[in-house]
């Protein structure tokens, strides 16, 4: 178990997803990419970005950057929210669809395309939840 939004989180996350999620069964062989923009990250009130790319159900990229944006990647979806919302999502207090419908996260990209892969996104978050046990207060 590792700290949420740490380099270890990325490394363990890659490993866990590759070892535990079946490209067809769990990820429906989807090809997509998500840029997460996490604002107000404590303790310095910074912005942290992560980029996650799935190609035909396989994790093909998962990177983290604190402060600077990940401008070299063109994500299909950009989701923006504060650290508290992402913490609640990764702690299982609120689902990503609920966060979206409750306007806790803003989505850039087609909402219908995002909703089409909601089941797979839930699966990915569930997997990352299993390795995340430390959060900033």
């Amino acid at each position: 178990m590792v700290k949420f939004l740490s380099e270890d989180w990325i490394e363990y996350g890659k490993q866990y997803i590759r070892e535990n999620l079946d490209p067809q069964k769990d990820l429906n062989n989807i090809t997509t990419s998500v840029l997460g923009v996490i604002e107000h990250v404590p303790p310095q009130d910074t912005t942290t970005n992560f980029y996650l790319e799935i190609t035909k159900g396989q994790l093909s990229d998962f990177i983290l950057r604190i402060g600077d944006s990940i401008s070299e990647k063109e994500a299909v979806f950009v989701i923006t929210g504060n650290y508290g919302t992402f913490r609640d999502i990764f702690e299982g207090k609120i689902g990503i669809a609920m966060a979206l419908l409750k306007n806790r996260i803003k989505l850039k990209g087609s909402k219908i395309e995002a909703l089409k892969i909601i089941k797979q996104l839930d699966g990915l978050i569930e997997a990352l939840r299993k390795i995340s046990d430390e959060f900033e207060e």
Binding site: H40, G84, R87, D88, A97, M98, L101, R104
Partner: protein
């Protein structure tokens, strides 16, 4: 459970209070002065729901089940009640409950507490920050106060990890939201709370409530200015429909408002005000001239700002669903409308929905009537009968003996009334309506009488009663008087209600439509969940198919159900339909069936197409009807239906398939 060591004597009386409190429904009628009694002095002074009768009822339940421990604030809340009895009158009119008994029991309870053992509630950094914005008095983390918000914004089983804050200005709302974002705390505004309380016992609980964080109670945003010169009113987020209407009437003007206890700003944000006046007065953005809101980043915006992008446009696709408001409306300038001196109410009874629908569509297209709707017998009975028992018997009389299943309900000018009277053999006029209101107990009591039996054997019982030779006997037999209707109330309240019903307003159907105090009776000791939405008025078969679907699903899940109302919009091009399911909110099994029904009817409605369902309606109220309703979404494709089901599962968790 509560640590009994802190209670020095047995909690006598609290059990009876809990029995009353469990029937409370957060209808909010104890927060408006609709009977001319004045307001609860404690609630008016302190603001928090905890200090209002509805809040005390919620607190008593959670003290009894051990969810909360007594704090200093509990003593203050209990002792702030002067036992003036106002709440008993208000609550009795709407729900027949006696909240003062709860307040008395709470006073007794705190009298016997060992004050040294009260739970301490230290302030933390977040509370200190909130108090710096609104002042010490208006932000709290006291669990007793927090508990009073359970079921009307806080889910029933959530840990009480909340702050309640009551801002007074738009600037304070902005600062609170920026503060919440900076500290990564979710927030949600609360106005009347009634709509949230209806959803709470169902699967929608988590979707509509705040799971933890900051509750922004908007009650103190009380600006209310009438501008007769422009027929507008500037209304703050804490102003209720009743309060606005009361002020508007002083200027011989009328506002298009929701139920009496609903807050105007929140209602516009949520559904764009669904009323029976919508065909004449408008819907969605028709309702207002300008508004001020605070967005989810804490920015204050006004619709009159020249730089903003088009605030009136919206996507009406099924994916554009919002379960929480994306902004907090803090002030709004609403339109007001003239009141005509010759306004009257006229009802036309029907024994089937098809004929009633034909007529409301026809009148809607012709622009006849200020308020125009079809009501089912159930709404009629619930609205006019003083108690639930009388309403049940009245329903029986209407449905089975009089064959009165629907009424066309019109408020109109004399000229329009003549047109309506010319279209039908007989109508029910204001005098007869007054007789039905005051005579409702007597009419209900005739359920098993020989008179009703004879009447039901008539070919057209409605004609016999409302136009035939029996009319005089019928009117006389109902003993319609304030004295007689007052007899159904508790002995100590009879004099008061005699005076209430002697007031012209309380039997004036035009006034009752404008002030909308009677819909609160739908909440007496239970809940009414009313899905529905807007549908194109040009296809009668499609409309009937939709109504029948609601009825079939209600039957399937063995629920008490009925059409609520049908009312035209946009010069009769659309109609709004509310279909109601009634349930005991204390019965989890029936709440489960309500949940199934909501999911099933929503999915079937979306699949049916050419309808704009309630779930689509939510938080579209500030947009133009032209964007919201044109064109109505087509039925879901199979692929979209699957997406919808996946999203529902993701949002609501696992539930039984239908």
């Amino acid at each position: 459970m509560v640590d009994d060591s802190i209670v020095t004597i047995k909690k006598t009386g609290l059990e009876e209070a809990v029995a009353i409190a469990e029937k409370g429904t957060h209808c909010g009628m104890c927060r408006i002065d609709f009977l001319g009694t004045g307001l609860c002095p404690s609630g008016k002074k302190h603001g928090y729901v905890a200090y209002w009768p509805q809040g005390r009822m919620e607190i008593v339940k959670h003290l009894n089940n051990g969810r909360i421990q007594p704090t200093e604030k509990l003593i203050d809340i209990a002792n702030s009640c002067t036992l003036c009895g106002i709440c008993d009158k208000q609550c009795n009119f709407a729900t027949q409950l006696r909240p003062e008994k709860v307040a008395k029991a709470l006073k007794e309870y705190v009298k016997n507490l060992d004050k040294k053992k009260l739970q301490k509630v230290p302030a933390d950094d977040i509370l200190t920050g909130l108090r710096a914005i609104v002042g010490d008095e208006w932000a709290t983390n006291d669990p007793v106060i927090i508990a009073s918000y359970i079921r009307s914004i806080i889910p029933p089983d959530a840990p009480l990890n909340y702050y309640i804050v009551i801002p007074e200005t738009t600037e304070q709302v902005s600062k609170i939201i920026k503060f919440a974002n900076k500290h990564n705390i979710p927030f949600l505004p609360r106005s009347g709370g009634t709509a949230l309380s209806v959803a709470t016992p169902t699967i929608l609980s988590n979707a509509t409530s705040l799971e933890h964080g900051i509750v922004l109670d908007l009650l103190r945003l009380k600006k209310l200015q009438i501008h007769p010169e422009s027929s507008t009113a500037r209304v703050g987020a804490g102003v209720t429909a009743f309060e606005l209407q009361k002020e508007a009437y002083k200027h011989h003007l009328r506002a298009n408002v929701a139920e009496a206890g609903a807050h105007v700003c929140a209602n516009i944000a949520t559904t764009g005000i669904v009323t029976t006046w919508g065909n004449k007065y408008g819907c969605f953005a028709d309702n207002f001239i300008d508004l001020e809101l605070v967005d989810n980043d804490g920015n204050i915006r006004n619709h009159h700002d020249m730089e903003i992008s088009n605030p009136y446009a919206t996507d009406n696709n099924f994916t554009n669903i919002s379960l929480s408001p994306p902004y907090v409306i803090t002030e709004i300038t609403v339109k007001l409308f003239p009141i005509f001196d010759d306004e009257e109410a006229v009802f036309v009874p029907f024994d089937n929905v098809e004929d009633a629908l034909d007529m409301v569509l026809e009148l809607g297209k012709r622009g006849i009537g200020l308020s125009l709707a079809v009501l089912s017998y159930k709404y009629l009975a619930e609205f006019i009968c003083p108690t639930r028992k009388i309403a049940t018997d009245f329903e029986d009389v209407c449905k089975n003996y009089l064959k009165l299943r629907y009424v066309l309900d019109v408020v109109c000018t004399k000229e329009d009334k003549k047109i309506i009277e010319g279209m039908f053999d007989y109508t029910i006029d204001q005098n007869m309506l007054r007789t039905l209101i005051l005579g409702s107990p007597k009419l209900a009591s005739l359920k098993t009488s020989e008179f009703m039996k004879i009447l039901s054997e008539e070919e057209d019982p409605l004609r016999a009663v409302f136009a035939g030779p029996m009319r005089k006997h019928f009117e006389k037999g109902l003993d319609a008087s304030p004295e007689n209707i007052a007899k159904v109330y508790d002995a100590d309240l009879q004099d008061f209600f005699k005076k209430v019903y002697a007031r012209p307003d309380f039997t004036n159907v035009v006034w009752l439509h404008a002030f909308r105090i009677l819909p609160s009776r739908l909440m007496r000791q239970r809940m009414a969940m009313g899905p529905g939405g807007a549908i194109w008025a040009g296809d009668k078969k499609h409309i009937l198919k939709w109504i029948n679907m609601f009825a079939e699903v209600g039957d399937k899940h063995k629920l008490e159900h009925a059409l609520g109302f049908i009312s035209p919009l946009d010069d009769g091009k659309f109609i709004y339909i509310e279909y109601d399911y009634f349930y005991d909110h204390n019965n989890p099994e029936v709440a489960g069936r309500i949940s199934q029904t909501l999911l099933e009817t929503t999915e079937k409605s979306l699949a049916l197409g050419n309808v704009f369902t309630l779930i689509n309606y939510l938080f579209k109220g500030i947009h133009r009807k032209e964007h919201v309703l044109y064109p109505l979404p087509k039925g879901l494709t199979k692929e979209e239906e699957k997406i919808f089901i996946d999203v529902l599962h993701s949002v609501l968790g696992e539930f039984e398939p239908w």
